[in-house]
């Protein structure tokens, strides 16, 4: 056991990056008060296919971060849980990673690396479950021509705190698709960030979240178009139900002067299913060159559409079932992108349960 180092600038809540986050509920991850437990919970419980390895290694960070929690993680430990997919390896089946031994009394500071060699193709699923306090510096390195579908499932139990950065570094002609699902935990704060380091890359950042009474879920995107001819798409959908359910979606997209030929679009849609919930949605597009293919954003926050409910009910469907259909329908577009039926069904059932629990 060791205490977190304290020589970092502790956020006060006034900083742009922290203005929404309930710092008091972070269990000391941000200010060094957390007692760090000695655990590395990320596990692979299935045998890995040829060309894939998963081991603990001492690795330097891939990319800079100015997030204080990430800095604290890096200050403590050089050990990284490293999932590596060798060059030219095409893995057909999804690679599943899960969590063991969580705890609420102590915090885990986790560093994870997923790296794909040139032209490697894989789907990686990380299932985050249990009750835990977890800060995570997750970096993803995509070598030229590689393609990764990264599915990250926040299905934590009620008291968990998860603060993480999921940072992808996308090399020439590589493709990165992430599906970020957040349905469980007390406080979840994820920074899905992307940095293009050579032209021709493309990313799709998809996400769904469903916050019920008292839950706080924040997704703070940052896509850095620092090279020409890269493409990015962001589409996050969230639902909220119950008192003090609070979600935050920040979509920072930066198109630098050098990034000619950029093509980007970001979208966030929220469904407010009851009073007393709050969805913050802040798209933010910074464009430093006019020589682009396209750049746009949209953000909507709405309630149940009475016309949809009426139409369904006029066919005999009860209000409760009509709501369930509409909410499932709302999330369907993104959930089906997961492409793994067992996970899709589990999530849809979870969504049904959340809705029922909220009793809107």
């Amino acid at each position: 056991m060791s205490l977190l180092a304290t020589n970092y600038l502790t956020p006060t809540g006034r900083e742009e990056a922290w203005r929404f986050t309930p710092l008091k509920r972070l269990r000391g991850l941000h200010d060094g008060a957390a007692v760090v437990g000695d655990r590395a919970s990320l596990i692979s419980s299935h045998s890995l296919p040829a060309g894939v390895t998963f081991m603990s290694e001492n690795l330097a960070p891939l990319a800079h971060s100015d997030d204080v929690i990430i800095e604290r993680i890096r200050g403590l430990d050089g050990q990284v849980s490293h999932l590596s997919i060798a060059a030219n390896t095409e893995v057909a089946e999804p690679i599943l990673l899960g969590r063991s031994n969580g705890a609420l009394e102590t915090a885990e500071l986790s560093r994870v690396r997923i790296s794909l060699g040139e032209h490697a193709v894989a789907t990686v699923v990380i299932e985050n479950t249990g009750d835990t306090v977890l800060a995570e510096d997750l970096e993803i390195s995509l070598a030229p021509g590689s393609s990764l579908t990264f599915i990250t499932l926040q299905e934590f139990d009620a008291q968990s705190v998860y603060a993480a950065r999921h940072h992808a570094v996308v090399d020439k002609d590589a493709h990165f698709k992430s599906i970020t699902v957040t349905v469980g935990g007390d406080v979840v704060r994820i920074l899905p960030t992307v940095e293009f380091i050579a032209p021709g890359g493309s990313v799709e950042l998809l996400g769904v979240y469903f916050a019920t009474a008292g839950q706080f879920f924040e997704h703070r995107m940052h896509v850095d178009h620092a090279v020409p001819h890269a493409k990015s798409r962001v589409n996050f959908k969230g639902a909220l139900a119950g008192r003090d359910a609070h979600t935050v979606w920040i979509g920072d997209v930066l198109i630098r002067a050098i990034a000619e030929g950029t093509d980007t679009y970001e979208l966030n849609r929220n469904l407010l299913l009851s009073d007393g919930a709050r969805a913050d949605s802040v798209p933010n597009l910074e464009i430093e060159t006019g020589e682009i293919i396209g750049a746009g954003h949209a953000s909507t926050t709405g309630r149940f559409d009475d016309e949809q409910l009426f139409y369904l009910m006029s066919r005999g469907i009860t209000l409760e079932n009509a709501r369930r259909l509409v909410v499932r329908g709302f999330f369907n577009e993104i959930v089906t992108e997961i492409g793994i039926e067992a996970i899709q069904d589990r999530l849809m059932n979870r969504i049904d349960n959340e809705l029922e629990k909220a009793g809107t």
Binding site: D306, F310, Y311, M313, G316, R328, G329
Partner: protein
């Protein structure tokens, strides 16, 4: 035999400027086996009548009654009205994103029949219903009404009529937006639904051409929030020739 009785129905809508009365005392009785046509100028309240019977939350019942075989329809929730045997084919069917036609139909049939239809017979039933209305099977996996053309939406409404088998169907301008072939196909669907069961039809329309396929027993002229004249099929021809000038001042 079922009977829908509308008595002195008065309905208003909430607007920014307060409640506006739209239906000013509608009286109408429809029995299974009968076909009633309602014709009337734009804005006279035909859709308001249809929606009020189906229970759309936008409308406030100010007075009067609607009963189906004696049961108080106005006291029922929207889904209860459907379960009681009412069906509304909407003038503007609603898009429901992310909900597939097949999922929607099965959920509706399950609700109305009280149990999930047996999968094998159900698949065949839907396939037949789609074929009969010339609907591409690919529509089963599309989202409800999403991106459907106007005519496709109307055919989808009548397919539901055939699958859900109500006692009384209100068809709000189902013929609008249909090409000549679709008009015939849809009319045949309505006639089939009538032939296959005990169905009463309230057909709201602006055109006599659908009445060539679907013979009304009664024609009602609707103006300014109520029925101003009633007659047989020949009344429709008179309206087509003369318009509503005689009625709008009433």
């Amino acid at each position: 035999m079922s009977r829908l009785e509308i008595r002195n129905l008065q309905v208003s809508v909430k607007t920014d400027a307060g409640a506006v009365e739209i239906l000013k005392g509608v009286d109408l009785t429809i029995e299974t086996g009968e076909t009633h046509a309602i014709m009337g100028p734009n804005g006279s309240g035909k859709s308001t009548l249809a929606y009020s019977i189906a229970g759309h939350p936008k409308y406030t019942i100010v007075g009067g009654s609607v009963t189906l075989d004696g049961a108080d329809v106005l006291d029922m929730t929207v889904d209860e009205r459907a379960k009681a045997g009412l069906f509304l084919a909407m003038q503007y069917p609603v898009e429901v994103p992310g909900v597939s036609v097949s999922n929607f139909l099965r959920t509706a049939a399950t609700a109305l029949r009280g149990e999930a239809p047996k999968l094998r017979t159900w698949v065949a039933e839907v396939k037949d219903a789609m074929e009969a209305l010339n609907i591409d099977p690919a529509f089963a996996s599309r989202n409800v009404n999403e991106g459907f053309s106007g005519g496709e939406k109307k055919r989808h409404e009548i397919m539901q009529l055939e699958l859900l088998k109500p006692k009384i169907a209100i068809l709000d301008e189902t013929d609008s937006g249909l090409d000549v072939d679709a008009l015939r196909i849809v009319s045949e669907g309505i006639n089939r639904a009538k032939a296959n069961g005990n169905l009463g039809v309230l057909l709201i329309t602006h055109y006599t051409r659908i009445l060539k396929y679907i013979k009304p027993d009664f024609v009602h002229v609707f103006a300014n929030g109520h029925i101003v004249e009633e007659g047989g099929p020949d009344l429709a021809d008179k309206l087509e020739a003369n318009g509503y000038a005689d009625y709008v001042s009433k």
